[in-house]
């Protein structure tokens, strides 16, 4: 019997309709565990870098987290590993909700989609019965309609569904794959790939068991972690910009200008309190971080940052409107962060005279034009008029528009960047070095906010049961905070650790809200590894766990190095080095400090000065096959690396 894993992979070739079930490969899971780890290795093995995102040979590999669907609190996530149409790199997108636990109950750890269907289809995975079904009647339907129709058709209201909306069908480069309230694969344009493959939806229902090798220890630790979540639960409940003291300190907005928090939208805390009807959770999560907000058309579901993006990017002032725009993106199935960014970008170009009414078919792209925002969300999703150009993302759109539009783009590795406070060296390090180009994958409250807390608070924190960083960083946290980022030694060590810890979370399927994003994370890194051990019976310790996480992260980097990624790409937009924030809370980023920060970070990762993993690093991590590839491709120019 297999423990922890479901025990099989399911592969569906949409070109031929072939359905194949394979037993889990013990060697693969021993080296890469699961989730993003195993999915990344499978992608490396099967898809050479010459395969473009829209090739039928590009695979969508859904990897359910190794602990997903078990009693480990917060373990509900799936990683989708594929080549992104937006960045043209190997990427990953993660999702919570209930889909992956269902996939595992149906008996599968990975779902691999290859080929392209000639007509729209959807998949129905019901334990061992797998069908490719006609979806012509679903094509053109929005997310909610699609899900309702499928549930009726399959006569089962317990099924879990992934689907794309019009944005995915029309191959919008930032299209999402939607699942349930506040759970979707939003970033990296993965929805466009489902649209390209004519795959409208994936419905799953399962009734099988997930077995645990060491039940007593597994249960005890899971229970302890669920109990330990009390402090974080309260913290997340009450989290608001006011309570965190971010007003007037944090600067938001990428486009047109940078704005301090107090000018944005109103009172966050009272808005939440007045409009929130319920807090909801993903599978087996006690943190209930998603808010069900009563809105005119029923309920909207928001969490954290994305619904804020329209306020920051399009200079809107109304929280209610921001939620309306966000929900509309969910309906059409695309990433609200990229959507807001694209519309704001067009507004910026309009103000600068680069786009005129001739280009916009008479539409008025004034900042803050609410009607226009709603119109453009529809036009981008349907690729109508100027929406067709913006649908390719700011990087491509700028090249199509020309006339100097390029200098006003804000992206990292061609991906629209989050609206987060922009002038911290720390945040720019996070957003620059990630292969997905999304700082939200690396940022954490300790290096971002806790370094700034009073000494007593920091002292209490390093002694608390929530401290998860290496011992040696305890004293470093007590050092004075330098907002310019000159204290990069501490910062880079924390980012490097967070990178590995979060990679482990993508492997186990535990949400980073439990493992590293907030200050009171119930999970320490060692807890994740212990649960892997108890669940599977693998003889793995903390050291080996860390090495596995590094192996997975470095493998992703190795893949993208073959696509030409290097130091030149690990950089924030040039503008952050040139302009201070307005009002001048922060000076422009210091080039020397930033360069030294990158140097220090590369050193910790075992990369050379150009950001290429060194031969020694690859060998140490058991990635000799990556070294050979890079050697063959002439990536290493000198003997030194």
């Amino acid at each position: 019997m297999i423990y922890g894993w479901a025990g099989a992979d399911l592969e569906i070739d949409l070109s031929t309709g072939n359905i194949q079930r394979d037993e889990t490969d013990p060697e693969l899971v021993a080296g890469y565990l699961g989730g993003r780890g195993t999915a990344t290795k499978m992608f490396w093995d099967r898809v050479p870098p010459e395969v473009e995102p829209f090739s039928p040979k590009n695979l969508l590999i859904f990897g359910a987290g190794l602990l997903t669907g078990t009693l480990a609190p917060g373990a509900n996530r799936t990683a989708l590993v594929t080549r992104s149409p937006q960045t043209n790199l190997l990427t990953y997108s993660n999702m919570g909700g209930f889909w992956a636990p269902e996939l595992k109950r149906a008996g599968y750890d990975h779902l691999i989609i290859s080929g392209k269907s000639p007509v729209p289809v959807y998949l129905w995975i019901n334990d061992d019965r797998v069908e490719v079904r006609d979806a012509r009647h679903l094509w053109g339907k929005d997310i909610k309609e699609t899900q309702e129709t499928i549930k009726k058709e399959l006569k089962n209201d317990k099924i879990q569904i992934l689907c794309i909306g019009e944005a995915g069908e029309n191959i919008v480069y930032s299209a999402s794959i939607e699942h349930s309230t506040g759970a979707s694969f939003s970033r990296a344009g993965v929805g466009a790939l489902m649209g390209d493959k004519k795959l409208k939806a994936i419905a799953v229902y399962g009734t099988k068991d997930i077995n645990i090798a060491d039940p007593a220890n597994f249960y005890e630790l899971s229970k302890k972690l669920a109990d330990k979540s009390e402090r974080l639960r309260t913290f997340v409940d009450n989290w608001s910009y006011e309570r965190e003291g971010l007003l007037g300190k944090a600067v938001y907005g990428n486009l047109g200008e940078f704005r301090p928090m107090q000018n944005i939208g109103g009172n966050h805390e009272s808005f939440l309190n007045e409009n929130r009807r319920r807090q909801i959770s993903c599978y087996n999560c006690q943190l209930r971080c998603k808010h069900a907000m009563r809105s005119s058309g029923g309920y909207s579901f928001v969490k954290c940052v994305p619904w804020f993006s329209f306020i920051a990017c399009c200079k809107l002032q109304d929280f209610n409107f921001a939620i309306k725009a966000y929900s509309l993106c969910e309906k059409y199935g695309f990433d609200a962060l990229s959507a807001a960014h694209m519309i704001g970008y067009a507004m910026d170009l309009y103000e600068k005279g680069i786009l005129t009414k001739e280009d916009t078919e008479g539409l008025d792209f004034e900042w803050g034009n609410e009607e226009l925002v709603l119109t453009m969300i529809r036009k981008i999703a349907r690729r109508e008029g100027i929406g067709d150009i913006l649908a390719n993302g700011v990087y491509q759109a700028a090249r199509q528009i020309g006339r100097g539009a390029e200098q006003y783009t804000y992206h990292v590795k061609k991906m629209e960047i989050p609206i987060y406070p922009l002038h911290h060296t720390y945040l720019n390090l996070c957003q620059s070095v990630d292969d997905r180009a999304d700082m939200l994958k690396l940022i954490s409250a300790v290096p971002q906010h806790y370094v700034q807390k009073p000494l007593e608070v920091k002292k209490e924190y390093i002694q608390s049961e929530y401290w998860t960083y290496p011992e040696e960083l305890k004293d470093k946290l007590l050092d004075d905070y330098d907002p310019t980022g000159a204290d990069y030694e501490r910062m880079t060590k924390m980012v490097s650790f967070d990178n590995d810890s979060n990679t482990m979370a993508d492997i186990t399927g535990i949400c980073i809200f439990w493992t590293g994003f907030w200050p009171f994370n119930p999970y320490l890194f060692s807890d994740q590894v212990k649960l892997v051990k108890y669940a599977t019976g693998l003889n793995i310790d903390e050291n080996e766990g860390m090495k596995t996480a590094q192996r997975v992260g470095t493998l992703l980097r190795g893949y993208n190095v073959r696509l030409g990624i290097s130091r030149k790409d690990d950089r924030p937009p040039e503008r952050f080095f040139q302009e201070p924030s307005t009002p001048p809370l922060f000076p422009p980023l210091d080039r020397d400090i930033f360069d030294s920060t990158i140097d220090a970070y590369y050193k910790l990762r075992g990369y050379d000065k150009e950001g290429i993993p060194s031969r020694q690093t690859l060998d140490e991590l058991g990635l000799g096959f990556v070294r050979e590839e890079l050697e063959q491709r002439g990536v290493y120019t000198s003997e030194e690396n």
């Binding site: 349930s180 068991d209 645990i212 039940p215 249960y219 087996n284 006690q286 209930r288």
Partner: protein, 174 residues
């Protein structure tokens, strides 16, 4: 005095996380916690997110007969079939049955005695949508002997002593 044990459900507090389903299936397996499978759970969360509806339903008694299922509930303007909220394990559906053997499942409040922390669905529900209540109440514990006697008396009155005796004889030979 008799002891009342019950789980009280507050549908407004449920976050829809289904931790209760997971822990229920794990606890009721032997060895304990050695598997997780919502399909084996004696509690299920019925949810309709778009209508803000989250209803934990605990498995009730097994019934051989299907009911007519002709009633419906209207909640926040949305209509739901009564079957959706029914706790019975019945022939018309596979809810509250072991998925492999078909054996009906019923909530037993985690056995007698329950674990020290009480029924586990309640313990894992950190939002208090499920509350375990145990209290003494006036009145006598139901006497099973009395019930049997009463049932027999009823049958004898209805069919006559001779017929019941014959029936019992027949049964005891099988």
């Amino acid at each position: 005095m008799k002891k009342i044990k019950r789980i009280e459900i507050d549908v407004n507090k449920c976050t829809g996380c289904r931790a209760c389903e997971a822990v229920c299936s794990a606890y009721h397996y032997s060895p304990k916690f050695s598997l997780i499978n919502s399909a084996r759970s004696r509690i299920r969360i019925i949810s309709d997110e778009e209508n803000d509806l989250y209803v934990p339903v605990l498995a009730g008694p097994y019934t051989e007969a299907e009911c007519d299922g002709r009633r419906s509930y209207s909640i926040n303007g949305e209509k739901y079939d009564e079957c959706l909220f029914c706790p019975a394990s019945c022939p018309s559906r596979d809810l509250f049955r072991e998925p492999d053997s078909g054996i009906p499942l019923k909530c037993d409040l985690c056995g007698d005695p329950p674990p020290p922390e009480g029924p586990l669905c309640v313990y894992w529900c950190k939002d208090d949508a499920l509350i375990y209540v145990e209290r003494e109440e006036e009145g006598e514990e139901k006497n099973k002997e009395d019930e049997k006697e009463k049932a027999l008396e009823y049958l004898i009155e209805k069919y006559g002593l001779a017929e019941i005796r014959e029936s019992l004889n027949r049964k005891s030979k099988v």
